[in-house]
Each structure stands twice: as structure tokens, then as C-alpha cells.
């Protein structure tokens, strides 16, 4: 209350030269903090005592669990089918504007999934992810500008340049971990943005590259058609990303990444080449950002370095952490939350950073594993197999 006193209570009307004392605000803050702290205590209490009691119950009583239900074939297939139809029909059911928003959300999903490889599996805190994203966008932008390269050629090239850039950034930070890695990657993100801004001769600097073509579907599409088309491209990319990441997760490479995250010295002692694994992590993460970058360039038809600020990296990070690091459904949900909430609650848009900040603090205390935590694969073990 004391801290907020100067801004909330005192209002100086400089025009009339009088000071307004808004005591009512003080009361509201008092009541607010009282209830919030009460809620806080209650949640902390529940956190300490809760899991011990509630968890076994849920398992034993066969309480309805969404996860269990979705695991069963009978439920799973119709659910997926309905979902697929909804997704396919989406552009025809809603306004054109909504399709655009949804495409951005899907792009964010892919970015989240990509960053999730680096953070969720590899355990490398990367705060310059937007640099990879920019790399993809500029690959398309510049190649179009100089050579007139079409979208479909730029998409794989964007992925490749993302990966290459990932490795290039990866090499100098090989020896770093934890906070130091975070700081250096943050700096790299900013450096690459500044480079794009200042190499005006080559990248056109802050004014950016304009009139990048949208992808055509055999013929040149209208604005509406192209947006719908991009929506479907994004859907396919999301599915592709999920497919690839799920397969990586349960593979030798995936295990190596995770071992590195858990304990790098032990991992190295088990014969894992840390340098190689870190580079693979960066490259695998950057591939997706590179692709999304190309899509972004095609969607907005205009790119400038201003779209790839630290804020962008942070938002992706928030999506990953909020949804659940290492969990694919979690990250997808997180990405939707982070993009759609500010879109649909425009009134709150100004406070979104505050909201995400509060959400992150609350999450890290009460549910550090994220909204949908990762489920570990169980291997069939038993007498039947061996």
C-alpha cells in the first residue's frame, strides 16, 4: 500500500494547481492485497498438503481423467476426426480476419515447438530465438529481392539457413551453460537484429523489405485465398513438426538431449559428445524458426528488423514455459494462449505483459511443470518381452 501510495492516491492536477487525494483507491488496494494474499496463502497451503492426499485418490477411484480417456482408441479417433474437420472447415466458418489471427497463432505454435526442442529437451535456455526466426524471414525476403525466389523454394532454404545459423551461434556458446548461456544467446539475438538494421545496403535496414509475394496455388491467389492457403500450410507445418518432434523424442538423439539436460557431466561420462549434441539441439530448434520465418515473410509480405525483437523471443519462451516445457500438447496450448488472449481481449492488450509475468510467477510456484506436463514413455517390460 505504501509503495503504490504515490501513484494511486495522490493525483496532482497541474492545470488547476491542486492536489487530489484519492483515498478511495487506497481502500481498494488494501482490500485487494488482503484477498490476494489470502488466496496466495490458500494456494501455497494446498500445494504443500494437497498432492499427498489427492493424487492416490484420483488414481484409485478411477476418476474420469481426460488424459486416460483420450488414450483409448474409441475416444481418440472420433475426437481427432472432429478436430480435423473443424480445422479444415475453419477458414469457411469464420470471418477472414479470424483466419489471419489463427495463422499467426499456428506460426507461434511451430515456434514454440521449435524452442521447446532447445529448452524442453536440450535444457539450453535460449533467449535469442527470434534471431533464427529473422533468419528464415530474411532468407525469403533477400532471396526474393535479389533472385526472385518463390515461396516453395524459400521454405526449405529458410529451414536450412535457420539450422546453419543455429550451428553458427552454437559453436561459440558450446562451453557455456545456465545463466551465461541465456545472456549470450540474448546478446546474439539482439546483435543479429542490429546487424539486419544496420547493413542497410544489403538488407535495406530498418525500412525492411516490402512486397514479398504470397505463395500462389498454381495461379495467383486473392488476398483472401492466399491467407486461407497459408493457414493450411501452417496446419501442415504444425503436423509435420509434431510428427518429427515426437519421433525425435523417443530416439537415441532425443535421449541424448535429455541426458544432457539432466546432467551434462554424467552424460559426457556415458559417452555422449556434448559439443555435437548441443549443436544438434540448436540446429533442430532453429530449423522450425527458419521455416516459420519464411511463412511470416509470405504472410505479411513485409519484413523489417523490428519484428524480431527480444520481446518476440520472450513471448515464445513464455508460451513454452506456460504450457509445459518438454510437452508437445502443453506447448501448443501455451502458444495459443499467448497469441489468442491478447487478440480476443483487446481491452487487456496493454496489460498483457503484466498478465504473462504474473502467470509465469504463479505457474513457477504452483505448477512448475506447466499446464500440461510431459508424460514419459513407458516401455513394455515384463516376462513376455525379453
Amino acid at each position: 500500500m505504501i509503495l503504490t501510495f504515490p501513484i494511486m492516491v495522490i493525483k496532482v492536477n497541474s492545470y488547476e494547481g491542486v492536489v487530489l487525494w484519492r483515498w478511495k483507491n487506497l481502500m481498494w488496494i488494501g482490500i485487494g492485497t488482503f484477498f490476494l494474499s489470502w488466496l496466495w496463502r490458500f494456494l501455497l497451503d494446498r500445494k504443500e498438503n494437497g498432492p499427498g492426499e489427492s493424487k492416490p485418490d484420483a488414481d484409485r477411484d478411477g476418476k474420469f481423467s481426460l488424459r486416460k480417456a483420450l488414450g483409448e482408441r474409441k475416444v481418440k479417433i472420433p475426437t481427432l476426426a472432429v478436430l480435423a474437420i473443424l480445422v479444415l472447415a475453419f477458414p469457411f466458418m469464420v470471418k477472414f480476419y479470424q483466419v489471419g489471427i489463427m495463422t499467426s497463432a499456428l506460426m507461434f505454435v511451430i515456434l514454440g515447438l521449435g524452442l521447446n526442442i532447445v529448452i524442453g529437451y536440450g535444457g539450453l535456455l535460449h533467449l535469442g530465438y527470434a534471431a533464427f526466426y529473422a533468419m528464415g524471414a530474411y532468407t525469403y525476403g533477400l532471396m526474393y529481392l535479389y533472385w526472385g525466389l518463390p515461396f516453395w523454394a524459400a521454405l526449405p532454404l529458410g529451414a536450412v539457413s535457420g539450422a546453419v545459423f543455429g550451428i553458427v551461434i552454437g559453436v561459440p556458446v558450446l562451453r557455456l551453460r545456465g545463466d551465461y548461456l541465456a545472456i549470450v544467446t540474448l546478446a546474439f539475438g539482439e546483435i543479429s537484429r542490429l546487424l539486419l538494421e544496420n547493413m542497410s545496403g544489403f538488407t535495406k535496414g530498418p525500412e525492411g523489405i516490402a512486397q514479398i509475394p504470397r505463395p500462389g496455388f498454381f495461379v495467383k491467389l486473392s488476398l483472401q485465398g492466399a491467407t486461407t492457403y497459408l493457414f493450411y500450410i501452417c496446419i501442415v507445418l504444425v503436423l509435420f513438426a509434431i510428427f518429427v518432434i515426437r519421433r525425435l523424442e523417443d530416439s537415441r538423439i532425443g535421449r541424448a538431449l535429455e541426458a544432457m539436460k539432466e546432467d551434462d557431466i554424467a552424460a559426457q561420462s556415458m559417452g555422449i559428445d556434448l559439443a555435437k549434441t548441443k549443436l544438434i539441439t540448436f540446429a533442430l530448434g532453429a530449423v522450425w524458426a527458419g521455416m516459420v520465418g519464411v511463412v511470416l515473410a509470405a504472410k505479411t509480405t513485409y519484413i523489417n528488423p523490428g519484428s524480431f525483437t527480444l520481446m518476440e523471443s520472450v513471448m515464445i519462451l513464455v508460451a513454452v514455459v506456460l504450457g509445459g516445457t518438454g510437452s508437445i500438447p502443453g506447448v501448443i496450448l501455451g502458444a495459443f494462449l499467448v497469441t489468442l488472449i491478447p487478440e480476443y481481449f483487446r481491452a487487456l492488450a496493454d496489460y498483457r505483459m503484466l498478465m504473462f509475468g504474473v502467470a509465469l510467477v504463479v505457474m513457477s510456484i504452483f505448477r512448475p511443470q506447466g499446464i500440461i506436463p510431459r508424460v514419459r514413455k513407458r516401455y513394455l517390460v515384463g516376462e513376455d518381452k525379453s
Partner: protein, 259 residues
């Protein structure tokens, strides 16, 4: 006389002004169980870390017998390269991959023996699938050998303490080492668990034809297991020989009990 597997020659490790290990000579022959003992801070774990490549030795040579009995100098090699040469270790303070299951921990140990790359993982071709299948089967076998099969799908951190220690050994064995380095495998175990560990170590030595170097403070375990003992004190080697010889050595008694 069997061949020497690990040879440490005039080896020192210096941290700033501190000589943690001072001109030590050691050798380990194939099939032996050798113990390295000494009071706290004597430099045992430092020596381990140098042998396994976590630190680079300041002076001297560490050589390992290669696959074709050639002699390979390991100073300055990365830990993963040394593991590939057939050395595997456990850690004094358990360093399992705690959120991964016991089986996955052992599967990590198989890592250097496998080949599947990124594209193998994505396309999941027949070779990769077969390899995965084999890893799971092999890893389970190793778990069974150490009586850990029932924990296969449990996260490593939820295992009982003794089982975690055994899992570290299982993980190290998964790399198919010639020389297994155990850093205080019995630390924190009760007498019953220590007894079981004693049997387990002997059994895996005989079954797998392993050579074992262990650091241990539990003297009953050291005396019952090891064929030769090296004693370190303040970085210097003060005694070596069979358990009986070392037990009677006045320098050793002095190091442990004082004047």
C-alpha cells in the same frame, strides 16, 4: 601376467597453488579389483576425474590399453572419447538422470554403441527400429543383472537409495567397459546393502570379465573385495599392496589415525 589396462605414470594434478595429486604411479591389470583409499581430501576423486577426462592432468601420463592392445594416452581427451575407449564410471554423489526412468538411464549408457542419427529417428527405417528394439532388450538384461528390472519404468529419482547406486553401476556397464571405475559405491548404504553390493561387484567382475577400480571408505568392503589397494594421503601415494600388507603398514595407520 595379464596385461595392464590402465597405467598412470608420474601423474600430478594442480589447482592453483594446491597439489591435489602429487606424482602418483599406478597401474591396473586386466581382471583385477583394485581399491583406492585414503582420508577425505586425499585426491582420490580428483584422480578419478583425471582418468575419466573430466579434468585434464597437469603433469604425467595416463595411458589406456586400446582395443588392439595398443597404448593410448588419454591426457586431455574428452570424457566421451575416454568412455569409448572402454572406461566407465559412477559418481560419488549420485548423478543419475533423475527424471528419466531407470531403463532410459541404462539406454543412455548404450548411446556410444549405437548409430541412429537425426534422419534415422525421423524416418524410423528398419535399421533404426531394430536398433531401438535391441537397446531396450539389452538394457533390460543389464537391469536384471543388477536386480533392477522391477524399477525399469520408475523415474530414477524415485528409486530407493541402494537401487540408485546400483543403477549407476548398471548405466556404466551399459557402455560395455573394460574398466569400471566406482566412486564410493557403498556410501550411505547400510551393512545389508553393502554386503549385497560386495556380491554384485564380484559377480559382475566374473561374469563380464571386467576390471574394477573403486574408491571406498567402507573398509570391510575394501578388504573383502580388492586384490590390491593403493593408499593416497595429501595427494601422495603412501602405500600399495594386498589388503593384509596395507592394513599393517604404519604409514597407512598414521594417515588414518594420526600418531
Amino acid at each position: 601376467m595379464s596385461r595392464t589396462i590402465l597405467d598412470i605414470n608420474d601423474f600430478s594434478m594442480v589447482f592453483g597453488g594446491l597439489r591435489a595429486v602429487d606424482h602418483v604411479d599406478m597401474h591396473i591389470d586386466e581382471g583385477e579389483i583394485v581399491a583406492l583409499i585414503g582420508p577425505n581430501g586425499a585426491g582420490k576423486t580428483t584422480l578419478f576425474n583425471c582418468v575419466t577426462g573430466v579434468y585434464t592432468p597437469s603433469e604425467g601420463n595416463i595411458t589406456v590399453a586400446g582395443p588392439n592392445s595398443e597404448i593410448i594416452r588419454t591426457n586431455g581427451k574428452k570424457p566421451n572419447k575416454i568412455t569409448e575407449l572402454g572406461l566407465a564410471r559412477t559418481f560419488q554423489n549420485i548423478r543419475l538422470f533423475s527424471s528419466m526412468t531407470a531403463l532410459e538411464n541404462v539406454m543412455i549408457g548404450r548411446h556410444p554403441k549405437l548409430k541412429a542419427g537425426i534422419f534415422g529417428a525421423i524416418f524410423r527405417d528398419k535399421k533404426t527400429r531394430d536398433e531401438e528394439e535391441r537397446v531396450i532388450v539389452d538394457s533390460l538384461k543389464i537391469l536384471k543383472k543388477l536386480n533392477l528390472a522391477k524399477y525399469a519404468n520408475e523415474p530414477a529419482s524415485s528409486l530407493p537409495y541402494g537401487a540408485q547406486r546400483r543403477l549407476e553401476i548398471a548405466r556404466a556397464m551399459a557402455t560395455e567397459p573394460k574398466l569400471l571405475l566406482l566412486d564410493e559405491p557403498a556410501a550411505g548404504m547400510n551393512p545389508q546393502e553393502t554386503k549385497e553390493l560386495d556380491d554384485t561387484i564380484k559377480r559382475i567382475r566374473d561374469e563380464e570379465g571386467l576390471t574394477i577400480l573403486l574408491i571406498e571408505h567402507d573398509m570391510s568392503l575394501v578388504m573383502s573385495l580388492s586384490e590390491r589397494i593403493y593408499v593416497l594421503d595429501y595427494g601422495k601415494l603412501i602405500a600399495e599392496g594386498s589388503p593384509d600388507v596395507v592394513k599393517a603398514d604404519p604409514a597407512v595407520i598414521k594417515a588414518y589415525l594420526g600418531e
